[in-house]
Amino acid sequence: MTQETIRVLDPTAPLSIATDGMADRPESLAGMRVGLMRNSKMKSEPLLDAIYDVLAERFDVAGAYKVDKGEASRPAEPKFLSDFSKEVDVALLANGD
């Protein structure tokens, strides 16, 4: 008796959008403008503020640029991200219920 095999199909699908890796990390935060993007959740702002305070204490950063992307469950609009990226050198995002 010959061994019966079975052929089956892959149920997954590759995502059509590019999945970018991590952005290059700066060597130092000295002189950098730090973007703080909260997502409208209550604790996202105090969380970012607390992290920024630590960074400002340890590094000679050039200040903070704070924005609220609104609606936590949906992505920010491309223009919002583009405008934000023009204002900052590095960025922190936070989610906080």
Binding site: R7, V8, L9, P11, L15, S73
Partner: protein
């Protein structure tokens, strides 16, 4: 019929195939039916679908759900080919932007997707709407709901084991959650839910809810619409003021009392909107609104502390659905993710044209 394009794997047998789907993370934790090319082709042909037909695109990740992937996952779930029109309509519904599919499937709030099917197809396919409608034992209920979840896992990549699904507690409805409305026990003069939501009478449709856990309650003494709806109100209060959308699951016994009093469907929402109220002070004392509700739902007026504020944002916020079997005054409320403020219930007609 164009050719299938999915990668295939040759394995020694059915049990090895089942194990391979577990190992590859292609399952919901239960064994799947191995989707052979022959079964997928037969399902697509029965449903008159080309493999490359696009059934929906999840907007955030631009994840494309083709008929081929839908058929593969439906077979894995255990669907019969004749279930495909419901699966296809459900995919169309969940990928509408207002449903916020990405948001509800990755959120810590942990909504599952409740499918409610209406119309003649429910009887043709045997989708249970009566005794234990939310329970096990019916292939169509179990496998249609499961097909949608497997698509979310496999095509959207939203799994619990690699981090995208961040539900704090999870939800048993994420295995499968599909019922039909019990149209036989609708009170006289009521339209079925899909007709209320704009689908032509006599057609079939599926309505998708971003559903949180149901709260079932017994009301065995009240025999008036007011008494029964007051019991509903008690289960709505803990959800907080200003609910935009909430499923009001009415058992046949309770529906019969509404019919006896000649209540029409819109009176359910009207009564709850007008009568299920608390003052701002009372809501605050309950700790409500809490969390994200503070920013998205009804604002409590800091000055008018004695003004009664409804648990609903409008009479239409209550979505009555008659479900369940004879005997037993057990009804339920099913809250929706974000209480309907950031994800909306969607209804799609089921296309049976061949």
């Amino acid at each position: 019929m164009t050719r299938l394009t999915s990668n295939s794997i040759e394995l020694p047998g059915v049990l090895e195939a089942i194990e391979t789907y577990f190992e590859n993370g292609w399952s919901d934790g239960l064994p799947v039916v191995p989707p052979t090319p022959e079964a997928v082709t037969a399902t697509l042909e029965a449903a008159n679908l080309r493999p490359d037909a696009i059934l929906g695109i999840e907007p955030v990740k631009s994840a494309v759900i083709t008929a081929e992937k839908a058929a593969i996952n439906a077979i894995m779930a255990g669907c019969k080919p004749e279930y495909m029109p419901v699966v296809v309509a459900a995919i169309g519904a969940i990928t509408q932007p207002e449903f916020n599919l990405h948001g509800i499937t990755v959120s810590t709030m942990g909504a599952a997707i409740l499918l409610v099917v209406n119309g003649p197809i429910t009887e043709e396919l045997g989708i249970n709407s009566k005794t234990s409608a939310f329970g096990p034992g019916y292939r169509a209920n179990a496998t249609i709901g499961r097909a949608i979840r497997l698509l979310i896992i496999n095509v959207l990549g939203t799994r619990t084991d690699d981090g995208l699904d961040k539900a704090t507690l999870g939800h048993p409805g994420k295995y499968s959650w599909c019922i039909a409305e019990n149209e036989d026990d609708l009170p006289y003069g009521w339209t079925p839910m899909h007709v209320t939501r704009g689908v032509e009478e006599g057609k079939s449709a599926v309505t998708v809810f971003p559903g949180l856990s149901a709260t079932q309650f017994g009301e065995h003494e009240a025999n008036t619409p007011e008494g029964i709806l007051d019991a509903f109100a008690q289960r709505l209060y803990p959800l907080g003021p200003g609910l935009d959308e909430v499923a009001i699951i009415i058992s046949p016994e309770h529906a019969a009392y509404l019919e006896k009093a000649r209540w029409q469907k819109e009176q359910v929402g009207n009564y709850l909107f007008e009568n299920a109220r608390k003052t701002a002070s009372e809501w605050t004392a309950m700790g409500l609104p809490s969390g994200a509700q503070q920013e998205n739902n009804t604002k409590l007026d800091a000055i008018e502390r004695d003004r009664p504020i409804s648990v609903l944002s409008s009479p239409e916020s209550a979505i009555p659905i008659v479900v369940g079997g004879a005997g037993g005054g057990w009804s339920a409320v099913i809250p929706t993710w974000s209480n309907g403020s950031r994800a909306k219930i969607v209804t799609r007609a089921i296309n049976l044209s061949k």
